[in-house]
Every structure is written in structure tokens, then in C-alpha cells.
Amino acid sequence: MTAPTPYPQIVLDHFRAPRHRGTLAACTHAADGANPLCGDALRIELRCVDGRIEALAFSGEACAIATATASMLGELVLHRDGADIGALGARFARLLESGDEDAGLGPLNALRPLQQYPARRKCALLPWATLCAALAGAPHATTEPDSA
């Protein structure tokens, strides 16, 4: 019997071939997320129209967990109302803590094994925090507990 891998195939796929990687020509919102102790640095750029996320792109250097999450998150939030993102993010944080499936989070359910790896949750949360910062007009985000 083997414990579930923290890196299911879909996570690896998104890490190796991330969707929405790049920058946006005309972006309305952007933020830089960084977990300096970990060495993760991600930029998320958005184009919102009437409060809806019509385009998203991320760039930067990050670990597989953060990169894959950013990629999957793009899939999930595109064409959604920016006002709904906070609640979605909270559901994602809950999923990481409980390990319980949340159908509404689609591919992000692949990160449920992180329930077993609490030290890595901050990596999965970084893209979310960065997205929320961008929507809120904040330039920076981090999910690093201050004592790393």
C-alpha cells in the first residue's frame, strides 16, 4: 500500500505544459506573488471587462505545485465574475486542508494530496493570493508564513 503521490499526472502535465503562460498585451489588473523563502515568484495579469475575467496570463519562476496550480486556476476562473473569486479561493484552501473533493473546483481537485503535505500548501495558494491581489488592486502577494 502506497500513500497517494503529491504529484498526480494532471499536476505534472500542467507543470510541464502550463496553460495561460505569458503576458497580456492589454491588461487591466496585475500583481506579483512571491514566496521568497521558497523561491517562488509569479506574476498574474488579467483583462477584466465589466468585472469579468476575460483573459489571464501568468509568468515567472515557481515550483511544480505553484506552476500547475496557476495553470489550472486559469482554466477555472476564465470568464467568471471577479467578485466570485474570493469565495472560490476559500473553497480551494478548504480543499487543501481537508483533502475533501469539491466538484466546483474542477481540475484543482488534483491537489487534494497536499492535505498530507501542509508545508507545500503555501505553494498552491500563491497563485490564488496573487490573483486576488490583482483583482483587489494590490501589487504584491505572498503566502509564506513569516517564519520559514
Binding site: 521568497p36 523563502l37 498530507q116 503535505y117 501542509p118 508545508a119 507545500r120 508564513p145 513569516d146 517564519s147 520559514a148
Partner: protein, 414 residues
């Protein structure tokens, strides 16, 4: 005290004693009667085993590693912070700074809170009954800043004179520091009342809870003080553990004290940024196993029930006080109306150390000396007292053995 809703049955002392391996010891070929609990308490097997198990199964450093062992160790360590927050009814777990004991907790406040704030002419208010740990740190920061120590007096009975304490809370006082329970007299100070008076005058109040946390229910929200220090080894937990609770807004303003790992956000030679409380004040590898053991001690005490502990210890105190008063030439030092189960006493014509040695020879461990409270000894004009300090695992029979032995050795000596 909880009598209205479903009163718990009284403590089953024989079962409880079986939980404490050391109580089965002999000393000088006599069964041990351990009456030095205010000095340090014995540990239930649950605590000893929690420490043991941690080293056998979970040992790793905390907050540093991404591996499974490190996760488990961190979770166990941080769980003790949660337990302490609950045990004290603290508003937030982030207000609990884990320290090596009361001494480090009070020094943290002295160096990080008081030192940067004190000006010449400022005062720190303490009382005559403080332990050295609640005097010397203030003397050190006073020495560095030109501030002065001010002492609120006690009565001959060993009670803080509240009016005088309140009157001493003048604008020059920048901090007041008071024991919740005196380690010599047993006096329980009226903290809520003192805190109210201090708060009205904008003066923060530090409470030295070393002797209170093991014996009384502590409700920080109700007490209304600003700092609360305690030590784990008196709370049936491992040596080298303790805590400082402080209000979040105060902690946030305090600069770091010890520098090192864990307490930083980012270190550069050009300048370092620090973590938020409580981690800002927890430099270096903590006493991880010790805190795991302290968590087990809190669980143990809560399972017994703190109301029931108070009830039992008050009964022991009454019994011991009455029995001691019948010893010829014996005088009890500290007769406050509200007392924890700590009894200091003197015997006419006999030196404290002689009696302590002779009692020890009978298997009875009491403390003789100044109890790290020189100024209180000076107040009473004695170099030393004998002290019997009780815990819930002591019995009426032990007290009877102790008093009978005291009568005997007094007679032997004089």
C-alpha cells in the same frame, strides 16, 4: 464551584497517585512525601511518555523542513500552543509566545517591551512578595535606563494592600508587575481588580502566573491583564518550557529580543526583517519535545478538572494549616484570606535548614530557604522559612506524617 450543573465526583487520589511514578520513591529508606510542589511539580506518566514517544516516533526540527517528520513535529509543537491558548482562555493562539520558563518570559518583556520605553524618572511597580524573576529583570532594565523600581507594600498577614498598590499607580509608572500567587505566602492576589485599576490609568500589568497556572483556573479574558507569564515544570510539564501571553497589539509593537533562526522574515547583511508574533520572539530551535510534554500536562490537568483541583487543594490546605498550628512554637508566615496550598512557617529556636534536613531524613521533602524572595524575607526579618507546598496528589495522610515528623524532629533538635 460548578455544583449546579452536574457536579463531577471528587478526585480519586489513589488513581491519580498511580499516574505519578516518582511518588512511589523512597528517600533515606522512607516512603517519599513530596511537599515541594511550588519548587517544581512531579510529572504524570502521560507527560513522561509523550516526551519519550516524541523522541522515538516523531523527532524532527519544526517549521523548517518539508518532510513528513518535520510536518508531524511542527504539528505536535504548534498543538501545544493551541492547548495553552485554550488553557488560559487567551483571545488568540498568536498571542502565546513559547519560552523556556517564566524567567525567560519576564525577561522578554523587560528587554523588548520595557527597555526601549523607559526614561529616567519612570517607574516600574512591583510588590514586596515578588519572586526574584519578577524583580531582577526590572532592576536590570532600570539600571540601563535610569528608571526606578517602586514597591507596593503588603500587610503582616501577607496580603497586598490594594489601596496602596492603586495609589502607587502614578503617571510615572510605566508597567506594573505582580505575582498571581505568591510562591512563599500562597497569597492569591486580586488580579482582576488590580488590572482594572491599572487599565484605567493606562498602565500595562504583567502577571507572574508561575504559581497560579498549576492550581487555579486561569481566564485571561476575565483577568484583564496585559502580560501573563508561566512556567511548565511547575505545571506538571517538562523542564525548560514556559510561555508568555501578551495582547496582540502590544506584541506587534515589541522589537525582537533574541536573534536567530525562525524569528526572521528575511536576513540580509544590509538589514533583516522579522517575523510576526509569536514567532518573532522564538529564535532558534525550541524545546520541541518539552512542549509536546507540556501539551500532555495541560490535557492531564484539564481532564482532572481545575475546579476539582481547587476544591481538593483547598481541603488539603485547611487540614495542613490546622495541623501545623498545633505544633509548639510554630508560626505560619502568610495568612491571607485567599490562599493557594502553600504554607511557609518558622519554628521558634530551630533553624529552617536543620528542620528541613531532619524532615528529609524522615522522607519528607519540604523546602527551606529564601525561596528566591529575599526582599520578602527582609520584610519578615528572617533569613529563611520552611515551606510545604501541596499539589492535588498529596493526601491527608501525607500531611499527618509530615506534621508528626515535624513534632518529632523539633523535639529531637531542641
Amino acid at each position: 464551584m460548578n455544583a449546579l450543573h452536574d457536579p463531577a465526583p471528587p478526585l480519586d487520589v489513589e488513581r491519580i497517585r498511580a499516574d505519578f511514578p516518582l511518588l512511589a520513591r523512597t528517600v533515606h529508606d522512607k516512603p517519599l512525601v513530596y511537599l515541594d510542589n511550588a519548587n517544581t511539580a512531579q510529572k504524570p506518566a502521560a507527560v513522561i511518555e509523550a516526551v519519550d514517544r516524541f523522541y522515538r516516533e516523531t523527532n524532527a526540527n519544526v517549521a523548517r523542513a518539508v518532510h513528513q517528520l518535520g510536518e508531524e513535529a511542527t504539528a505536535a509543537y504548534e498543538a501545544s500552543r493551541d492547548k495553552l491558548a485554550r488553557f488560559l482562555n487567551a483571545p488568540s493562539r498568536d498571542e502565546i509566545v513559547l519560552t523556556s520558563g517564566t524567567t525567560q518570559a519576564i525577561n522578554l518583556v523587560a528587554y523588548s517591551y520595557a527597555l526601549p520605553r523607559l526614561q529616567p524618572g519612570d517607574e516600574i511597580l512591583v510588590t514586596t512578595m515578588e519572586h526574584h524573576a519578577n524583580i531582577v529583570p526590572w532592576q536590570i532594565v532600570c539600571g540601563r535606563t535610569g528608571a526606578k523600581l517602586k514597591v507596593a507594600p503588603i500587610s503582616e498577614r501577607g496580603e497586598l494592600i490594594v489601596d496602596k498598590f492603586v495609589a502607587a499607580l502614578t503617571p510615572s509608572v510605566k508597567l506594573a508587575a505582580v505575582a498571581h500567587v505568591s510562591n512563599v505566602l500562597g497569597t492569591i492576589n486580586p488580579i482582576a481588580e488590580l488590572a482594572r485599576a491599572a487599565r484605567q490609568r493606562g498602565i500595562p500589568l504583567l502577571v507572574d502566573g508561575s504559581q497560579a497556572a498549576p492550581h487555579l483556573p486561569i481566564d485571561l479574558k476575565a483577568l484583564g491583564c496585559d502580560f501573563y507569564a508561566l512556567t511548565g515544570h511547575k505545571l506538571f510539564g517538562p523542564t525548560g518550557t514556559g510561555a508568555l501571553w501578551a495582547r496582540k497589539d502590544i506584541l506587534r509593537e515589541m522589537p525582537p529580543f533574541l536573534g536567530g533562526g525562525e524569528m526572521i522574515r528575511e536576513v540580509r547583511f544590509e538589514g533583516t526583517t522579522f517575523a510576526d508574533p509569536p514567532h518573532r520572539f522564538e529564535a532558534g530551535t525550541p524545546n520541541i519535545a518539552g512542549f509536546v510534554g507540556l501539551g500532555a500536562a495541560l490535557d492531564y490537568v484539564e481532564a482532572l478538572g481545575r475546579e476539582r483541583i481547587v476544591e481538593r487543594e483547598q481541603a488539603l490546605l485547611e487540614h495542613a494549616t490546622a495541623a501545623l498550628k498545633a505544633v509548639p512554637g510554630l508560626r505560619i508566615v502568610g495568612e491571607a484570606a485567599h490562599k493557594a496550598a502553600v504554607i511557609s512557617f518558622l519554628v521558634e529556636g530551630a533553624h529552617a535548614h536543620d528542620l528541613a534536613t531532619l524532615l528529609d531524613h524522615e522522607g519528607i521533602a519540604v523546602r527551606s530557604g529564601h525561596h528566591c524572595a529575599h526582599p520578602l524575607m527582609q520584610f519578615y526579618g528572617v533569613p529563611a522559612t520552611l515551606r510545604a507546598s501541596l499539589a492535588f496528589y498529596n493526601t491527608h495522610e501525607e500531611i499527618d506524617r509530615f506534621v508528626a515528623a515535624l513534632v518529632k524532629v523539633r523535639q529531637f533538635l531542641l
